[in-house]
Amino acid sequence: MSSRPLLLFLVICGGLIAREQYEIHGNVTDAETGEPLIGVNIVLAGTFTGTATDARGEFTLTLSPGSHTLTVTMIGYKSKRIPIMLPESGPVVRLNIALERDIITTPQIVVTASRSAQDIMDLPLSVSTLSPREIFSKNAITLNEVLTTQAGVSMVHNQLNIRGASGFTLGAGSRSLLLLDGIPIMGSAAGNITWDIVPASEIERVEIVKSGGSAMFGSGAMGGVVNIITRNAPARPETRFRSIVGFYSQPGYDQWKWRSRRGMFSMYEVTHSRPLGAHGFWIRAQRSVTDGYTQLGWKRALSFTGKIKLNFGNRSNASVYANLLSDEGGAISQWKSPADPFEAPEISKHDQSSGTKLNLNTVWNTVFNRQIILRVKGALYRVQWQNQGTNTDGSLEQKLLGETQIEVPLGNDHHVTAGYTLQQAYINADIFGAHTVQTRALYGLIRLKRGRFSTSLGGRYESFLVDGAPFDHQTVPQIAFNYRPFSWLSLRASYGGGFRSPTVAELYSRSRLNVFKVEPNPNLRSETSRSGEIGYSLRWAGKSSLLSFIQWEGALFRNAFVDLIEPRPDRFGIIHFENVTRADISGWETGITGGFFRRLLTVQLAYTYLNPVEINAAGTILDTLSYRYRHYFTQTVNVYLKAFTFSLDSRYSSRIEKTELFDEHPLTHRDRRVPIHVWNGSVAYRRGNLDIMLRGENLFQYYYVELERNLGKERNFSLSVMWNY
């Protein structure tokens, strides 16, 4: 990255009218192709004042006279710092900025691992990021379809697994935390994730913290964190239309055909963004409909999402984010039979579920003297759902969250972050009963840097009250190191504690799944963990025409759990959530991305090996943990040719070795499990404001189950069109 500062002296060419505020206009382009860049962040250094480029790469920023430094950043490009001096009077200023594409040497700034902005190469924890372009390149309507391209991240029947922490828990309890702009968006009762409430098309970036531990984000983060950073409004009004239409293939075997026509799916959305003086907002309406690839896979959803960003001078800003989702769909429990795996059992053919979800997040940021930052967050997450058919259960859950955080820089290299969180959940559900859960937490982290060596020390105290009575309290530490012997190489090691208090669903569920019963276990204890890892990140970019860049990351990790909570059928076939005495998930992961021939060809490979075992107090292995892949491999190959991008990606998971509900029958091979081999391909075309993509998923119609008696996704083809105006 060029270190030569660009100093712009802006001379007076016009009238001598004194100004209180300058309006700076400009555009940001790709230095190589000259294409305008959308969503580039232009921020006044040391303040919250900033903006982002619109669909034409244009931006507008209002500043007061004087000396300033603008920071221009975008994932995939070298960031720039541009010093400017604005005299007391002068003309309207225009800046034309060209960013060099270089995703490797760029210091990507991430905010999740230490709850404050930090260069990704200085991080002592394993963190990977996803850009909006990567999300768009999968034609994904929901984010869960994209996360699995990252090393160490997998899904079991839509349950997020980072390094195999969660397995599958019948939707009750997740050991990986999902945040939206730093605020948890997990269900109050079950601690589950509803992927439909994540606005996949309005994301600035996704940060995935793969190192386990609860020191920063508490219960539920013991197996990692996914933080979705939503975008802010660009400086000019912008309207965007996006549609995805597609169809599922008919089953590859005549015996499995169950409907006369192909199942269709579609998504239409319109987003409008607009600045309002120093402020800005975007709103989005989205309608998605799918017939599903199975009989009860149908779904209809309507959502409205919006975010308003308010800038109060250079030192304070606030944002309000809201999402309202109304959806209904078939309630899938299991297939009719292995002979008719796409159909639902006769008795539950008309089972469905409907509900509404409301998410409201507010954040207030203020910079005090000496760059001390105060952040105050408030959130409401309300979920209501109702089943119809053989199961008529319903639920109403509300969660309120308040948080205060302060960030204090100590000189140039050291940093302290501390905060207090209060969370209150109210749950009234047919299968859980009426309960309240309160969580209080105090956390702190100090980051020290000396030369190429940096350290972070942190901890968290968290207490839980269930129905007003103390349930548990936990204190966990975190210590982590980073050493950068070269600018392109970073070595890291970390050790930390984690914990998760049982959810209301795990404590109090009482329901029936076919002939299986789930019964409550109010005697559950919190699960705890000790996580350690060592890892490296290598990021190198060259001028060679053969190898343009290489990014190689790897980690060796071990998570040791005590009192891990797992669903277990007893000898009467009754499922309770139980504390498994001890469990150990160790393994390694590696991910490599390379660009060749001046990025004509890029290749991304990611592999994760897991050894998930249940052990006794003496350390003897008792069994394999259920619903975990031992080997997990993904690859993506992209070929860029002018306005076209051709892509081929795949996912391989080894056969799940152990399940809980149905075992493979030794004679008839009923409930057979197979490894997963899924191949996808796409062709994308981009010209000006128009993006078109044709994508095929599960091209070879490979059939598998992730969860017993639930078939994996059928082959499907989709066409997406996005137009910015």
């Binding site: 002979a339 006769e346 007893d570 004679l667 008839t668």
Partner: protein
Amino acid sequence: MRRNFTRKAPHLISWLSLIVTCAGLACNTPVGLEPVAGVEGTLITIGAWPDSYRGIVVAALDSLDLETPARHFIDYSEVMTPTQDTLNFFIQLYHGAFVLVPVGITIDPAFFIANLDSILQAPSLPLVPLVDPDNPLLTIRSVGIGEQSVTTLDQPIILDFTQ
């Protein structure tokens, strides 16, 4: 000509890598789940069940031996519970000949499913073949199963508890 080749080589290599990957995969992608063989049919009960039965399944035996059915037990259908009077069932089997017999379960069906292996080893089984001794063919069915094919019973199995 050499310059032309040098300029085009990256394109050729990129395309070649994509095409070779595709072709390799098309040839080597393993086969996942495939259609299974088995038998499907309907079980109908008439009248109130005897109190001792907690559930009824249709069992597939590899030969008709009602004295020691556990020795010949291959697989069984979904469980019909006392609140049901009709069960559309499917039993996954393999190529061969089998006998279908409705069986009353005298213990909790969930316990039966969870502990089938040990139950079948026990000297006294919580299973009662529901066969009319006077007219056994009313409830017993013999079926032949082919490869990856499902045999459908043309008549339902009827258990009449009113008689």
